[in-house]
């Protein structure tokens, strides 16, 4: 089984629109949305949810005012300034370390598990999909990323499918690290802007750090053809597979507004043909 993760470093380069288009082109796959913080793939896939599960991870301290003697030990020991003068824990600041729980001399602090999101097993017109939504202002997004990847893999094994097609998160921090570890292929979607290039280089360094060799493609390439050429040269210099470019095209936005992939909305558009060519190159690489 192959697992292809699509990431970008910078947000808004068109990662999810490309994943959606690949979903329309690929066969025998499970779709997986690992951008659990601001998941968008479902807006195009319109999944019919078959199973809904709570994502339970981590704990939050809760002071019982009945038992609390206001001795101040918890406030002294908390390194996250999560307990106020009235000995109330601010759940947004609580790291879930349990130091206050352990050291409270009155055992007045409870430590319940957090439900910090939901994850779903769904059906779409392009096959099964595993996706999730982290609750607002929650932590543990890396763990939820690992969970949806694991569930997608199990689903593929059960159904005898051979590809996991995964929409990854932006950035280079915890969710991205959780998304690329152990993947069989990573595709970076960048754009020919100073920020697209800068963020792509940081995510390439991250892939190097985790011994993953990413492939690269450029979206909106004609917005700055010279910058696009420089990015392609950068990929070649580093021995990365460069899979091609996609022109800037409003059909991506129009397709999204229609809840469709570009493959469905504008099969003959130059941008759609460019995406299909990148998909063929990807298949050959995998």
């Amino acid at each position: 089984m192959k697992e292809l993760i699509i990431i970008s470093g910078k947000g808004g380069t068109g990662k999810t629109s490309l994943v959606a288009a690949f979903a329309a082109l690929a066969e025998n796959k499970v779709l997986c949305d690992a951008d659990v913080d601001a998941a968008d793939l479902h807006l195009i896939m319109n999944p019919e949810v078959r199973e809904r599960h709570d994502f339970v991870s981590g704990r939050t301290a809760l002071v019982d005012p009945e038992r609390c003697t206001a001795c101040g030990t918890c406030r002294e020991m908390c390194r996250f300034d999560a307990i106020d003068e009235d000995f109330r824990v601010n759940p947004i600041d609580c790291e879930g370390c349990g130091v206050c729980v352990h050291f409270c001399p009155e055992k007045a602090i409870d430590f319940p598990l957090n439900t910090c999101g939901e994850w779903y097993l769904s059906d779409t017109r392009f096959g099964p999909m595993v996706h999730a939504q982290l609750h607002i202002a929650e932590e543990n997004s890396g763990k939820l990323v690992s969970l949806v990847r694991k569930e997608a893999r199990q689903l593929a094994e059960k159904k005898g499918l051979t590809l996991l097609l995964t929409d990854g998160p932006p950035g280079v921090g915890c969710p991205v690290i959780a998304a690329i570890g152990g993947a069989s292929a990573v595709l970076i979607v960048t754009e020919p802007t100073v920020s697209g290039r800068h963020d792509m280089q940081r995510v390439v360094q991250l892939a190097d750090h985790f011994k993953v060799r990413p492939m690269l493609c450029i979206n909106k390439a004609d917005l700055n053809p010279a910058a696009s050429d420089e990015i392609a040269a950068y990929a070649r210099d580093r021995g990365m597979a460069f899979l091609g470019t996609v022109p800037f095209d409003p059909v991506f936005t129009h397709a999204m507004v229609n809840g469709q992939t570009v493959v469905e909305y504008a099969p003959e558009a130059a941008a759609t043909r460019a995406v299909a060519a990148i998909w063929e190159a990807l298949k050959a690489m995998m």
Binding site: G9, K10, G11, G12, T13, T16, D37, A38, D40, L43, G58, R59, M77, R79, F80, I92, E95, G96, C97, G98, V99, H102, F103, L134, I136, A137, E138, E139, S141, G142, P169, P170, G171, V172, G173, C174, V176, I177, E191, P192, T193, V194, S195, H198, D199, R202, Q205, L206, H209, F210, L223, N224, A227, F248, P250, T253, M256, V257, G259
Partner: protein
């Protein structure tokens, strides 16, 4: 006054708004780029950097001569970042959340702390803007402590503009919390709307006033404008899709430099924010 600029969805134009707002207002503005995973503001401000400081977070070091291998450090650690196996203690520094629990619980004071590098904070000046950003070390998973370290550079008075990371989880909360106003930047597409709703939820969880900039305002549909009206989120600026803006951006140029007619619009944007903050009462002053 502290204005944070956030979005939910990435790539909607947060950095464009943050940098152009800072430069349009001229002197005595501080800009903190808190998108430490992918900081971009410097690519448009081209600051002269005058200082670089490494930021670390405390992680445990065990003196095995003192250690009795009692295992209490491993029991208290909620993050499986320290494990006792027989006569060995294994700290996993990359998993450590720096709570200090293992050190506090150790009965024989065998644990002290060293630093794990989170990244660097670089600071300097550009266009009259006092510039600070954080750069997360590649391979480091935890950005909130570095974001908090960048926030600690906030000047006691004057205007501070914070460029926040995308999303709605802990890094964004670290960047927005305790600011006087959150300026949300979105685009009028289904993705933009979906992520805007999450971002508004996060802003409301923190109890902060907010307003909206709609970027590429003419590319999608009316759903963002309708949502903003229903929710009472004021639209403070609309930026149409303009290939000249997109191309200037691609080269690392500010909109207010490439298309100077935008400068007064950003000044007006600030005046609208300042009026709302005066009305609600600035928290940070």
């Amino acid at each position: 006054m502290i204005i944070s600029i956030a979005s939910g969805k990435g790539g909607t134009g947060k950095t464009t708004v943050a940098t152009n707002l800072a430069v349009a207002l001229g002197n005595d503005v501080q800009l903190l780029d808190c998108d430490v995973e992918e900081p971009n503001a410097h690519l448009f401000l081209h600051p002269i950097l005058t200082a670089t400081d490494t930021v670390t977070t405390p992680v445990p070091v065990v003196d095995e001569d003192k250690c009795t291998f009692c295992g209490q450090c491993g029991e208290i650690c909620a993050f499986k970042a320290i494990v006792v196996v027989g006569e060995t203690v294994l700290p996993f520094h990359e998993l450590c959340h720096s709570c200090g629990g293992c050190m506090a619980v150790c009965p024989v004071e065998a644990i002290t702390e060293t630093g794990r590098e989170l990244g660097v904070i670089e600071s300097g000046h550009s266009h009259g803007v006092d510039f600070v950003h954080g750069r997360l070390r590649i391979g480091e998973a935890m950005s909130p402590p570095l974001i908090k370290a960048v926030r600690a550079r906030t000047r006691p008075d004057g205007l501070t503009i914070i460029d926040a990371p995308p999303g709605t989880s802990c890094p964004v909360i670290a960047a927005m919390k305790g600011t006087d106003f959150v300026l949300l930047v979105t685009e009028p597409t289904p993705f933009g709307l979906h992520d805007l709703k999450l971002a508004v939820g996060a802003v409301r969880a923190l109890g902060l006033p907010c307003g909206l900039v709609v970027n590429r305002a003419d590319i999608g549909d009316d759903a963002v404008a309708n949502y903003a009206r229903q929710e009472g989120v004021p639209i403070l600026m609309e930026i149409p899709f303009d290939r000249r803006i997109a191309e200037a951006y691609s080269r690392g140029e500010l909109v207010v430099t490439a298309l100077p007619e935008w400068k007064p619009k950003f000044v007006k944007l600030f005046e609208a924010i300042a009026a709302i903050v005066r009305h609600t009462g600035a928290k940070s002053e």
